[in-house]
């Protein structure tokens, strides 16, 4: 079966003050239909740059390209559901209207978009808050609204960039479990960036470990754990073994990156 999403030779070099700074070495990655792939790596490894390229916001260096269902895409803008790190909810829109903005841009009439949102809003635990404005919500709820917005956008490919990065540990673990459940219901093809190795294993069908900058795929670890997964899983033997394998690989890379750190910040 052809992969849903293929990253073929995706590399990126930035020009900084006349110097060419490679941020991504050629990355090759295939994501199967309905697969949940998590990406971890040392900070500054180019994960966000990779996502910006897959989302269509940045062109990759010449020679590389993205394929959806095996077909090369000129641009992926409007084709993948992208969720950035911050919730980016619009303060002038209610929860419901924030959730449907992607659909609105796709041209779905507002009434129809709202109906679709109301059909699933309960599963996001937001049914009573549909008419609230974002300022009245907690951080965890805002993140769920942002997830709902990403889910509603009519696309079978989702890119989630550290969606729980800014949340406290408890909210985070609750949302992880909930996301695992939601993803079980709606089989979407998902790429998920995180710093948190446990999160990567708990959520993923496969964990991709990236090298230090310039980033490339260092290691791909299939997660053979059964679904649905319960939080108790994280202390099981197989989970701990996976975690050790991945942490060792990241530690390796972090040390390497520490030793040869380029003095250039990654542009957002």
């Amino acid at each position: 079966m052809a992969d849903k999403l293929t990253l073929r030779h995706i590399a990126k070099t930035f020009e900084v003050e006349g110097r060419r700074v490679p941020v991504l070495q050629p990355v090759f990655l295939g994501v199967a239909e309905g697969e949940f792939v998590t990406i971890v790596g040392p900070s500054g490894c180019g994960k966000s740059t990779l996502f910006n390229i897959v989302a269509g916001l940045l062109p990759p260096d010449p020679g590389g390209g993205l394929l959806v269902d095996g077909r090369p895409m000129a641009t992926t803008l409007g084709r993948v559901a992208y969720m950035p790190q911050r919730d980016l909810l619009f303060p002038w829109r209610t929860v419901l209207d924030n959730a449907v903005i992607g659909l609105e841009i796709q041209g779905v009439p507002r009434r129809e978009a709202r109906r679709r949102a109301l059909d699933v809003i309960g599963q996001f635990g937001l049914a009573e808050f549909a008419e609230y404005y974002p300022f009245a919500l907690s951080g965890g709820m805002k993140q769920r609204v942002a997830l709902l917005r990403t889910f509603l956008f009519d696309s079978d490919i989702m890119l989630l960039d550290e969606p729980f990065g800014a949340l406290d540990a408890l909210t985070r673990s609750i949302l992880q479990e909930w996301l695992a459940g939601v993803c079980g219901t709606y089989r979407r093809t998902i790429l998920f960036i995180t710093h948190d190795v446990e999160e990567a294993i708990f959520l993923g069908d496969r964990v991709v470990v990236m090298t230090a900058r310039p980033g490339a795929v260092k290691l791909e670890v299939p997660v053979g754990l059964e679904r649905p997964r319960s939080p108790a899983l994280v202390t099981s033997e197989s989970f701990v073994a996976l975690k050790k394998q991945i942490l060792d690989a990241i530690r390796d890379e972090s040390l390497r990156s520490f030793a040869t750190q380029a003095r250039v910040e990654e542009p957002e």
Binding site: N52, A55, G56, L57, L77, G78, R79, V80, A81, Y82, P84, R86, L88, F90, P91, W92, I101, G102, E104, I105, Q106, Y133, F135, F153, E268
Partner: protein, 259 residues
């Protein structure tokens, strides 16, 4: 705060405000009477009040005339400012080329240009509308350009990934983000539009509250001069208040404080 608590606070605020205004007017009256200040320097509020009542028909008609020209110039400035700002924002080359002139126009007392406007457009209301317009137009344009540019690049990126084009970015993101900036400028522009309409009459007209003030000045009629001032103040406060009310209706979300 509960609705009852809010009502109580509003009542207290109103009482304090009325008392302050009453104290000011009362104190003024008292000082003028006790010190025997001549009417030609500062007339007592009671004298001004009596004159206001006496000639209220004329004042109302001429205030209406001035207010109308101010409002028309203001409306044109708001509409034109928004349109030009959108054009400037969408073309970086145009913005870089023209924006400095807009900023410079803030430093130049462009009211000096009014005499020419009277020559071109005549003694009627049209010239006042034009003067009110150009006094308000530049600040509004500058604010709206700043507002349109102030949206979060990450939010722009997000909408682009959803496939948003220029027009959708404008309507769904830039315009709402721009609104608080627009309203700050619109509140300030209420007074510049009124100044334009009033001062415009000084360059040539036979009606309006500016004309009324000028006539009182030539006649050295201080009481009437103060009647004119009261009318101008009332127009300014009502205009500003009306714009603030509209702002409260349209800006229901907590926006960054800009002033």
């Amino acid at each position: 705060m509960t609705p009852a608590g809010r009502r109580r606070r509003a009542l207290v605020d109103a009482i304090v405000q009325v008392a302050a205004l009453g104290g000011l007017v009362g104190g003024w009256e008292l000082i003028v009477r006790l010190l025997g200040v001549p009417r030609s320097i500062v007339p007592a509020p009671s004298v001004i009040g009596a004159e206001l009542v006496q000639i209220h028909g004329l004042l109302a008609a001429w205030s209406a005339y001035t207010m109308t020209t101010a409002l028309e110039g203001y409306a044109l400035a708001v509409a034109g400012g928004i349109v030009l700002a959108i054009v400037l924002e969408s073309s970086p080359a145009l913005e870089r080329g023209l924006f400095p002139f807009f900023v410079a126009s803030q430093a130049v007392p462009i009211i000096a240009f009014s005499a020419v406007v009277i020559l071109w457009l005549g003694n009627g209301p049209l010239s006042k509308v034009a003067i009110a317009f150009y006094l308000s137009f530049f600040p509004i344009t500058i604010s709206v350009v700043k507002g349109l540019q102030s949206c979060d690049p990450a939010a722009v990126a997000l909408l682009r990934t959803f496939g948003a084009g220029r027009a959708q970015l404008l309507w769904k993101l830039r315009m709402p983000v721009m609104l608080p900036f627009l309203f700050v400028a619109m509140r300030i522009a209420t007074s510049t539009a009124l100044i334009g309409a009033i001062v415009g009459e000084w360059f040539g007209d036979n009606r309006g509250i500016g004309t009324f003030i000028l006539q009182a000045l030539y006649a050295e009629d201080t009481v009437r001069l103060w009647c004119g001032i009261v009318c101008c103040a009332a127009m300014g406060v009502v205009f500003y208040g009306a714009v603030t009310l509209v702002e409260r209706r349209l800006l229901w979300w907590p926006a960054p404080a800009l002033d």
